[in-house]
């Protein structure tokens, strides 16, 4: 036996270590959350303090994070966790506010997707006092430091959030370079934060805000992204850093144009990657990747446990019939089908039972 001293004695004897030793085997937060979910020693959470619905299909939430929150850089995203019908769901959202906001609160704007689980839930149910799970901010879609002299921000639909955060952050910093903000929406009424955008443009002479409407007339421009829009909005775009976030069509159009112009290196993009769609085919397709062991195999259509074993891995397992949960592992991405129930699971970063799951297309497992 190698360890003879309980961990609590080996660690420096902090008050927290003592409290954790008293609460063992449960985490202190599992007690505190029953009194007040915002009272945490380790978990990051946030309370909704304000709810606005400025357009028909969006909701803007202001969140007060717990003290563990370390702040974010404009353009980054956080993961928000809510319980929808008893099931915990986690989704990425990019804060839309300035990273310098004085009260440290986080503003999220969520667009309700027609069949979207979390976005519809938040749109319909978010109210002040709701406590959600939060992660620290992550992502590399950020403004360089020091700030470049010219910045072009392009967004479409719900992709407005990270670039709006950049714009507001630049304004707070008293940025004196050129900055143009080009946003695409169906109609002007679909633009969340429209009034703030107009106000920012009015207050800061270096800021140009252009709203382009793709559906109807109205807006400052109409139609889809192209060279003319670029020239009209930011004639200096050739020496600017460009940041884009939006639906696939817009992203492709921008990427193609910048590649043609030989300026792909100065283009920064953020993708709100929609969840993978379950495609049911009789034939087994795709690649099954075991990330931790760095192994990939062609999907043979048998259970992931069997395929892992065939690939020479030895994942922990027990009953091989779906009852003992010994083989539970995290599916990082892709779609799997439960052979007992026939259900498909598309959500990333969720646990699956390897012995009763078969891959449907490309799947990555944390194994």
């Amino acid at each position: 036996m190698t360890t003879v001293v309980p961990a609590v004695f080996r660690r420096r004897l902090s008050p927290l270590a003592v409290v954790e030793a008293l609460a063992t085997p449960h985490a202190v937060d599992r007690y505190l959350e029953l009194v007040n979910p915002m009272l945490t020693v380790r978990d990051v959470r946030a309370e909704v303090t304000e709810v606005r619905r400025s357009t028909a299909d969006t909701v803007t939430l202001t969140l007060r994070p717990t003290r563990q929150w370390r702040g974010f850089e404009a353009g980054q995203f956080v993961q928000v966790t809510v319980d929808v019908d008893g099931v915990r769901r986690t989704r990425c959202y990019s804060p839309a506010g300035s990273q310098h906001r004085a009260d440290g609160r986080i503003e999220l704007t969520v667009k309700a997707h027609a069949r979207g689980l979390v976005s519809r839930y938040l749109h319909a149910n978010a109210s002040t006092g709701l406590v959600v799970g939060l992660t620290q901010a992550a992502g590399t879609f950020c403004l360089p430091d020091p700030r470049p002299p010219r910045i072009l921000l392009v967004s479409g639909g719900s992709g407005i959030t990270p670039v709006l955060s950049m714009l507001r952050t630049l304004c707070d910093e008293g940025y004196d370079g050129d900055v143009a903000f080009l946003h695409y929406a169906d109609t002007e009424d679909d633009v969340a934060h429209r009034d703030e955008l107009r106000a920012l443009a009015a207050e800061h002479s270096a800021v140009t805000v252009v709203l382009a409407c793709t559906g109807h007339d109205g807006g400052d421009l109409s139609g889809y992204f192209g060279q003319e829009h670029l020239d009209a909005v930011a004639p200096w775009h050739a020496d600017a850093e460009t940041f884009v976030c939006g639906p696939p069509g817009l992203m492709t159009a921008v990427r193609d144009l910048y590649t043609r112009n030989g300026r792909a290196g100065r283009l920064h993009v953020e993708d709100f990657a929609p969840a993978p769609v379950a495609v049911e085919t009789a034939a087994a397709t795709g690649a099954l990747t075991f990330e931790r062991s760095g192994t990939a195999v062609d999907n043979t259509g048998t259970t992931i446990l069997e395929q892992a074993e065939a690939a020479g891995l030895q994942p922990e397992h027990g009953c091989r019939m779906g009852i003992c949960f010994s083989c539970t592992q995290v599916k990082m991405s892709g779609c799997t089908r439960n052979v007992r129930t026939g259900e498909t699971h598309t959500e990333p970063d969720t646990e699956i039972q390897l012995c009763i799951s078969v891959p449907v297309g490309d799947v990555a497992i944390d194994l």
Partner: protein, 372 residues
């Protein structure tokens, strides 16, 4: 009693049980989450109240109330919460706090080892002699089919010790001491298991027998005895409930040959014939972790336990339809039956009366059923 079933009937029974399971799975939602959180709130509340009362343990009523609250807290933690969460009953909620692979319970046995010895070995090989190590836990003779030897003269004594020291017995279970004594396993092989056990048990002991007593200052001994009592009460309760699950008379055991290549339906049949229920009120069911619905639990180990009372009438009706026994009785009856067996089986003869003969199923191959 022997029930004759054709292979086809067994498959049909399997499909009917699958359908019950699927119906519950489709209905899982916020109500199940609210329920388990309500139980957790009660458990944590009782624990905090109990531990707090013990700071005033010099007042006998508070010592008693504190000890009772802490005992209840440990029972809820181990049974309705721990055992069931570790079965993956709440994994569908994707709540890391209630995930089968992450949850730890308030007892010395490491959750990971429990999941192996219980979820895998016991639930997969339920009541198969030589494979299910829960038959007598490697120390007792609890089924006639276990061959007698003079060691078993001490059967009642071993059972009493196991009951009093139950959490330690559960912890030691995965070491397979009987196989080490039989020379089929070496002590060295258990090294990593012992490491985990030391890690878990030292924290439990530190908390209950050092930190909380020390915090209560002059009440050190009073708190220590209260904590020891709570652990003991939990041991007695857990032992009694668990022993009533598979060991009352009338529960069937199986051989490895019988169960080779068994179908899903036959697996279900074995679970039903190898388990026994305890009847009682709602609170009793909760305190037993709904293991009072052992039959339903063995059919559907990964369904939230609060659903067992709901599906029990359907399971019972299926048993009647297929002529299978559905073993249920009050706690006093089942427990009396278990202890009676523990005493009787200390002797080589055991029981041979009609009531004590376990039921059997004769599987009629489809060809023969068709010919008849």
């Amino acid at each position: 009693m022997t029930t004759r079933l054709t292979e086809k009937q067994i498959d049909e029974l399997g499909l009917e049980l699958d359908a019950i399971r699927q119906r519950v799975v489709d209905d899982l939602g916020a109500a199940d989450r609210d329920y388990i959180y309500k139980v957790i709130r009660w458990q944590r509340g009782l624990e905090v109240a109990g531990r707090a009362s013990l700071f005033l343990g010099f007042l006998p009523p508070l010592w008693l109330a504190g000890t009772a609250a802490l005992s209840l807290s440990k029972i809820l933690d181990n049974m309705e919460i721990g055992h069931n969460v570790m079965h993956g009953q709440y994994d569908w909620m994707r709540d890391p706090g209630l995930n089968s692979t992450m949850f730890e319970w308030d007892t010395v046995c490491p959750a990971e080892q429990w999941r192996h010895s219980h979820n895998y070995m016991h639930h997969t090989y339920t009541n198969i002699l030589g494979k299910d190590r829960d038959i007598g836990y490697g120390v007792l003779r609890i089924e006639e089919a276990q061959r007698w030897n003079p060691y078993y003269l001490g059967n009642p004594v071993y059972a009493f010790l196991l009951m009093v020291l139950f959490e330690w017995g559960v912890m030691a279970h995965d070491l397979e001491l009987e196989n080490i004594i039989a020379g089929e396993r070496t002590w060295a092989e258990t090294r990593s298991l012992r490491g985990q056990q030391w890690h878990k048990a030292s924290r439990q002991v530190l908390k209950d027998y050092l930190l909380f007593p020390a915090l209560s200052g002059p009440m050190f001994l009073s708190t220590l005895t209260a904590n020891a009592t709570a652990n003991l009460v939990r041991n007695l309760w857990a032992f009694s409930i668990i022993f009533c699950g598979h060991f009352p008379t009338g529960v069937a055991t199986f051989t490895e040959e019988e169960t080779e290549n068994e179908s899903r339906g036959a697996w279900y049949v074995r679970q039903m014939m190898g388990s026994a229920n305890i009847t009682g009120g709602k609170l009793f069911h909760i305190l037993s972790g709904n293991l009072s619905h052992q039959i339903e639990h063995h059919l559907f180990p990964d369904l939230p336990a609060r659903r067992y009372p709901q599906v029990a009438p359907e399971v019972r009706a299926l048993c009647e339809k297929y002529g299978l026994p559905y073993n249920a009785g009050r706690l006093s009856k089942q427990l009396g039956s278990v202890w009676g067996k523990i005493f009787r089986l200390a002797l080589p003869f055991g029981t041979r009366d009609e009531a004590g003969t376990p039921p059997t199923v004769a599987v009629v191959p489809d060809e023969i059923a068709a010919a008849a």
